[in-house]
């Protein structure tokens, strides 16, 4: 009797979890249907699995170009963030003087600023820098990377700083006596120890940069530079009525995220949890 109760609980939880993802089911089944059968029954399974609408959506969204841009921007930004914020956090944590404290407080305090508060002056400033120096800050992927690094540095420095403080200093002192430079100590001794928190920093930044819509929408003007969220936005602006095509487009944009999730599920859930609680 008790066992039957347990099994029904198991099944119930599974069904609830499945229901939770039912919107995804609706997207999948309708991405294979033509317009007419979509409106006959939205919940039904498709008659055939033709990839016709995927091909059309791919072309209309310029998907391969958007995927390339998103990958390029996310990967380069995250690499720069990991390198620079771990170096900064280590120095700040190991040189506990007034200057370090002011800089660290500066990083922490700005975590309170919502993006909408700085978006307009940011674009004005970037425009001015561009006019004065000729460096293409706006409408370039590298300019966007620069801004992503700036916006995500605070949380990353914060996470690294907390972790560095938990590492015993004796390791570094031993290396110093052996005559290693600060640079050598950091990369050979410290950075490998930082690995767990690096995973967290990587995951948090990949998710926030990959999904970011507002900043790229303000920075990038050329169609050829669009990231996945941007091309999705313009795609929906033009094709809202053709839902079957839109579903195929949505599926295309979700697939990279599912691959990412499936490949590092445990790390992602732990990393997000760690980033949120601190």
């Amino acid at each position: 009797m008790k066992r039957a109760g347990k099994i029904s609980q198991e099944v119930l939880l599974f069904i609830v979890a499945l229901l939770f993802l039912s919107p995804i089911y609706i997207i999948i089944v309708n991405s294979f249907k033509d317009r007419q059968s979509l409106y006959e029954n939205v919940l039904a399974f498709p008659d055939s699995f033709s990839l016709e609408y995927y091909a059309q959506a791919m072309e209309k969204m310029n998907f391969m170009s958007a995927l390339g841009n998103s990958l390029y921007i996310t990967i380069i930004s995250v690499i720069i963030i990991v390198i620079l914020s771990s170096m900064t956090a280590w120095m700040l944590a190991r040189n506990d003087n007034i200057l370090s404290r002011i800089i660290f407080m500066g990083f922490i305090a700005t975590m309170l600023i919502p993006f909408q508060t700085i978006m307009m002056p940011l674009i004005q400033l970037m425009n001015n820098i561009m006019g004065a120096t000729g460096i293409p800050m706006l409408n370039s992927r590298e300019g966007l990377i620069f801004m992503h690094v700036g916006f995500n540095s605070a949380i990353s420095v914060f996470l690294y700083h907390g972790f560095v403080k938990s590492i015993p200093i004796s390791l570094e002192e031993a290396a110093t006596i052996d005559g290693a430079s600060k640079f050598g100590i950091f990369w050979r001794v410290i950075f490998p120890i930082l690995k767990p928190i690096t995973v967290t920093v990587l995951i948090i930044n990949v998710i926030s940069i990959w999904n970011d819509y507002l900043l790229p929408s303000l920075v990038l003007r050329d169609t050829a530079l669009r990231t996945i969220p941007l091309s999705t936005f313009y795609f929906f602006g033009e094709f809202t009525i053709q839902w079957n095509l839109a579903m195929a487009g949505l599926m295309l944009t979700i697939i990279p995220i599912v691959i990412f999730y499936a490949s590092a599920q445990r790390h992602i859930i732990e990393g997000i949890g760690e980033g949120a609680v601190k």
Binding site: Q9, L21, I26, M91, T110, Q116, L122, P229, T232
Partner: protein
Amino acid sequence: MAKRKNWGWYALFVVPLLVIFVTVVIVPFIIGIFYSFFEWDGIRSNPMMPVGIENYIQLFSDSRFLDSAWITIKFTVLAVIAVNVVGLTFALLVTSKLRTANIARTFVFMPYLIGGLLLGYIWKFVFSDVFVMIGEWTGLDTIFFNWLMHPDYALYALVIVFTWQMAGYIMIIYIAGIQSIPGEVIEAAKIDGASLWQRNRRIIFPLLMPSFTISLFLTLSLGFKIYDTNLSLTGGGPANATELFAMNIYNEIFGYANYGYGQAKAVIFFIIIAVISLTQVYITKKREVEMQ
């Protein structure tokens, strides 16, 4: 000599990130406050007119802004309740010793990764087309109609999508909290004959207070800042009924080209978010002190 060398290393490690950070965050923040005291249409050849604090005074008589502030509060309150109830329920289910718990956790967390813009589009189809069709089949067209065309229901739709996105995220925080409760405490209560509800109410919930604080304030500030989902799901419609705070700022600046006035709204937005977050820090710190 050695000291000078150390400062060199210090600068080499800290300055690159600091320069980027100051350029992207600090300087725009300061000039943003400066802009909020001017009237300007964003066109470079047009002059900026200093207006003092008039932009801030004007906010209080701007009915579109006040409406937007009100629906943002309404949205945030509903969203905080919904996200935390769903997140906590799943956390309790998932930490029970069911074998399907892991799969459930994986599924429930999934939407968080997809990102607000895409989630809005997914649900736009659900609310505008799937709902209408279900209504036609079942005859329950008082529940299943196009929610996005109705001013109140469009806001509820936004609450549902936000809950769908954030419940998994908040669930993770509650799971961490539940797992930090020693198993013996719960076992002891079981042996003493405490029912599931008694165990939850008398033991688990009180020990979860720190997780509650974190989750409440996190959803509070995330809900208050919502933009992407708002844009893709309702676009602020019908007839501005769901134009929340962040979208109102965007439209004021880039839509109506009121750069100075919009920036004043943006500064107020910052102050509200800062107050919410600092209150959280204050409460958390105070509790930590009391615990010691």
